[in-house]
Symmetry: C2
Subunit: 230 residues, 2 copies
DNA sequence: GACCGTATCTTGGTATACCATCCTACAAAG
DNA sequence: CTTTGTAGGATGGTATACCAAGATACGGTC
């Protein structure tokens, strides 16, 4: 590692061959996660290993490791001597998840509002555009993705990547709820307006207003979820 | 499932034979987690699967599934085409973890203070006793365990079991830091007094005071961690 | 006809075998 | 002496074989 090798490291790094670390396990993990989130397997339903092997076309080793991962993520539960099942979600769990989201997201938007510069704001504006577009198209999962993207930018801009990890994981556990709340009533229209409010506060670099808007956003979602679940 | 079978279900459930679902994998998971937390493997060090097989006396299947779990927990990172390594922890990550802990723990102690009755208070008092005892013995990991037990009671009493899951996981990621902060200077003495403060606020059913005490507790720990890490 | 035992099938737990890839070391050619 | 090609070992990825335990269905016995 001499001087000539370390100069212009960023240029040299650019021509590094992108070796897609795409292993069977990662593909399977992704598919399984999407399948569970998308409701392809119903909550409480058993996940029979050998059946999954056939369905995904991989061996049990892969399936089992994927299940371990999903188990740690909270999407799958292990029943003693009965094997894995899709985790069920009751209102009490959902309530807690919304509370935690409210706490983490509101501080994240506040942090973001504190430091956001032109670059971040431009990214957020773009995500907002996507949100409005999908919202007009009445595409719940589109809105979901756009909202997720918005928050992702917010968290990373504020230097809260670990909180983002946590929120992502929690979101996947309530994903079915999220789609349902979006499909509910006039949420399709109100969602974007609430996000817009958050964005406005960030744009004005007003942390308190951003946090408040965010809290009311999550609280509203929780209220709808409650009517669905209980 | 007739009427006679469903009456007194709680009594019947009580005499269910406790079949310890102790699988090799769970034992191995526990051992590995403790080993990493305890610093037996150093951060960034490689975890060679076959070596671990020999060390734990199990087959690779078990090791690999355990590694998947630890990966999802954040204790292990996968390097593409190089296998698993023990996750490293920088100050930026630690900073975020302490912030999240401050948020979740302070709301949890507040919730607990709101609802705590005689039973919960007795449990907490017992945990405090353990804390004082281990503290006098200058046993950092004893203090750690006692503190953990205290918080566990707090979270569960307040109906925040999901937040507890998250906090536990975060704690395991900064566990090495926690022992180090405990070993530092007069922390061994100040720790119990701060917990005592939190307990006093819960005992008085004063949510605001409890949350404030908790925040200062976590903030103090973060400050010490910062001097160690950066 | 009701109850009990057994055979079998399903399912998860565990171990092992095989393969592709990568890293390292050594040797040969310039 | 440097460089490059190659062989060998190490390592992770994947598939499969085997086993024990639980669930289920069927047949025999009272």
């Amino acid at each position: 590692m001499n001087a000539s090798m370390t100069k212009n490291p960023e240029n040299l790094a650019a021509l590094r061959i992108e070796t897609p670390p795409v292993t069977l396990r990662e593909i399977a993990l992704d598919r399984m996660r999407r399948a569970i989130i998308g409701g392809l397997f119903e909550p409480g339903g058993r996940l029979v290993e050998r059946t999954l092997c056939d369905q995904l076309g991989v061996s049990r080793s892969v399936i089992r490791e994927v299940i371990r991962h999903l188990e740690a993520e909270g999407l799958v539960e292990m029943l003693a001597k009965q094997g894995p099942i899709v985790a069920k979600l009751g209102w009490d769990d959902a309530r807690q998840i919304y509370e935690i989201r409210a706490a983490l997201e509101s501080t994240a938007v506040a942090d973001c509002a504190r430091v956001a510069g032109a670059n971040v704001k431009a990214q957020l504006r773009k995500a907002m555009g996507e949100l409005e577009r999908t919202s007009k198209q009445n595409s719940p999962i589109g809105v979901l993705d756009a909202t997720t993207e918005f928050y992702k930018i917010v968290f990373e801009a504020g230097g809260n990547n670990i909180a983002w990890e946590i929120v992502s994981r929690l979101n996947s556990r309530i994903s079915r709820l999220r789609v349902m709340t979006l499909s509910t009533s006039n949420r399709m229209a109100s969602g974007p307006s609430q996000i817009r409010e958050i964005f406005a506060a960030i744009d004005a670099n007003n942390p308190e207003a951003a946090a408040a808007a965010c809290r009311s956003h999550v609280t509203a979602a929780a209220a709808i979820a409650k009517t669905i679940l209980s």
